[in-house]
Amino acid sequence: MTAVTLANAEADPGRRLKALASQEALLAIAVIGLAIAVGLYNPRFLAMRNLSDVLLGNAYIGVAAIGMSMVIISGNIDISVGALIGVLATISGTLAVNGAPIVLAWLAALVAGILVMALQGAIIAYLRIPAIVVTLGMLSILKGGLISVTGGKWITDLPDSFHLADIELFGVLPVPVFLMVLATILAALWMRYSASGRAIYAVGGNPEAARLCGISQPRTIVMVFALHGFFAGAAALLYATQLRVIQSTVPPNLELTIITAAVVGGVSILGGVGTVIGSTLAAILIAEIASALVFIDVSPYWIRAVQGVLILVTVIADILRRRRMARA
């Protein structure tokens, strides 16, 4: 199936580009359209404060979705990322509370994230165990490990300088939003124009062709997971520093939100297609929907169901579109 798609895409690159652009344009329209629609129903939704809270509070999902997009584009999946973000936030917070230099506390989250994910990538790539088994196992190792080590105690008394998310660049631009935008642009450029970025698409789209082109599949997968770990580390920092406490438990079902953002952003679950601009827009859209539910008097308990429907609809649409393209 993937071979057909790739052949098709190469035969008609213009059309594929158009299809991708439309996915992102569609998301941008959805983000703005939803804001207007909900604003008409309840103008308080459009209050600057609410909109910036939505962006600030969810920027970490956008950052984590960048790494998830790369993983899915390479033809893999990761369901351990939510648990990892919880663990990294706790590591970083514990170091900060115990008087380690703040920069070290920040770096520790990034390094630990890269190490854990690279290890998973290596097991997947070199020992050829399916990603779902490895990451499902890792999910429970991290989740159970975190609770048994911390006993579920909250970390409080964090030093003020630890709060990365509070910093405003040039006095106006909050760091979470800045990081999300910067990371998205850099990752998008890298994936579009660099050889190693293109290798991710090649490995996900057609592993055999990628191998014949001299791309090492295992090495690419380990690289993708290491990058994913880096973004998970950055996301953990934003997540840990936006509140005054760190809960030392795994945020429930965070991985599902991140996967939803990646998939809804146009990353094809069959691998080989997608961009991180779409996934960031989708992360914003999901956060916006969650906030909108409250403003249109719908219980926020429905948000997970909305996410499920969003994944389902995008995935089915993607597959049907591919089938039509293959037939054409």
Binding site: I79, I129, S140, G145, I269, Y301, R304, G308, I311, V315
Partner: protein, 327 residues
């Protein structure tokens, strides 16, 4: 994967290897039993073992159809969420629709089957990979459970309903009979019927199975529906045992169930596996939990061990398989 042996070859080779894997597993199980029994004199008592059987039934009921699904090379991650949805609908329809409890039970079983049917339908018709489809419905079904229940729990069921979850029948926990019947039926179906053999054919080479005129789509649709139905049944047993209904019920069941099946020697790549292996895997996982609990390890640390067991047993199985393929 690339070189599929002829059917005759497969028939001879596969059971030989399976026999070894399962004998090995059963031997480990026996040693574990003895060691745990020596370490702790409360462990090797009939009471404790029967009680462990009671606790493991909910996972066991789902592990049987999961064995079928994994043999075909598929996976179902939504089972835990189906348990939650069915549990909520059991309580909600009883309390809010004033359904009589037997009707509410039937209704929740029906919803479970429908949830599985939706998985199977999209997997077979739209050709969405099972992994992605069931991740989507993992979110969707849990979301429905949360949305419908609004985080309120339901309790105060009539006394007779607690029979299946808490009472004994002929000296054995009532739900264990349910599990035993389910094990025997699925064992016979997998080993002795065309339907069962079709599952192996699909797992070994789906295209070949299709060209052989096997009803691949219908069989897949059946097993995903069955998986949902059994998750519904498991939800009823669970509610009866813990006497209350909450929307987070069954969270993480997919880990226990998949670990059980994979530990039991069913290949995650499809085409290989038995119900007997799953039963041994089920016993091992539960004894592991119980043994750790008795030696003072807390529940959260237990899932660390189960996660590690899942990865390691897949590693061992795949390296064994690779060596066999190499020979």
């Amino acid at each position: 994967m690339s070189e599929i042996p002829l059917p005759q070859g497969a028939k001879r080779v596969v059971p030989w290897w399976l026999l070894r894997h399962e004998t090995m597993l059963a031997a480990i199980l026996l040693i574990a039993l003895i060691v745990l029994g020596v370490l702790n004199n409360r462990f090797l008592t009939l009471d404790n073992l029967l009680n462990q059987g009671r606790l493991t039934t909910e996972v066991g009921l789902i592990a049987l159809p999961m064995t079928f699904i994994i043999i075909t090379g598929g996976i179902d991650l939504s089972v835990g969420s189906i348990v939650g949805l069915c549990a909520i609908l059991l309580g909600y329809s009883w309390k809010n629709f004033d359904f009589p409890l037997p009707l509410a039970i039937c209704f929740s079983l029906l919803v479970g089957a429908a949830a599985g049917l939706l998985n199977g339908f999209v997997v077979t018709r739209v050709k969405v990979p099972p992994l992605i489809m069931t991740i989507a419905t993992l979110a969707l079904y849990r979301g429905l459970a949360e949305g419908i229940s609004q985080a309120r729990s339901v309790r105060g069921y009539p006394e007779w309903f607690y029979f299946i979850g808490q009472e004994n029948l002929f000296g054995v926990p009532a739900q264990l009979w349910l599990l035993l019947i389910a094990i025997v039926i699925s064992g016979i179906v997998l080993d002795r019927t065309t339907f069962g053999r079709t599952l192996y054919a699909i797992g070994n080479n789906e295209t070949a199975a299709r060209f052989s005129g096997l009803p691949v789509n219908r069989v897949k649709l059946t097993i995903y529906t069955l998986s949902g139905l059994m998750a519904g049944l498991s939800a009823c047993v669970l509610v009866s045992r813990v006497t209350t209904t909450r929307s987070d019920m069954g969270t993480g069941y997919e880990l226990d169930v998949i670990a059980t099946v994979v530990l039991g020697g069913t290949s995650i790549f499809g085409g290989v596996g038995t119900i007997w292996g799953t039963v041994v895997g089920l016993a091992m996982i539960q004894l592991l939990k119980n043994g750790l609990a008795l030696t003072g390890v807390k529940g959260d640390a237990t899932i660390v061990v189960i996660g590690a067991v899942l990865i390691l047993s897949t590693l061992v199985a795949s390296s064994l398989q690779r060596r066999r393929d190499g020979v």
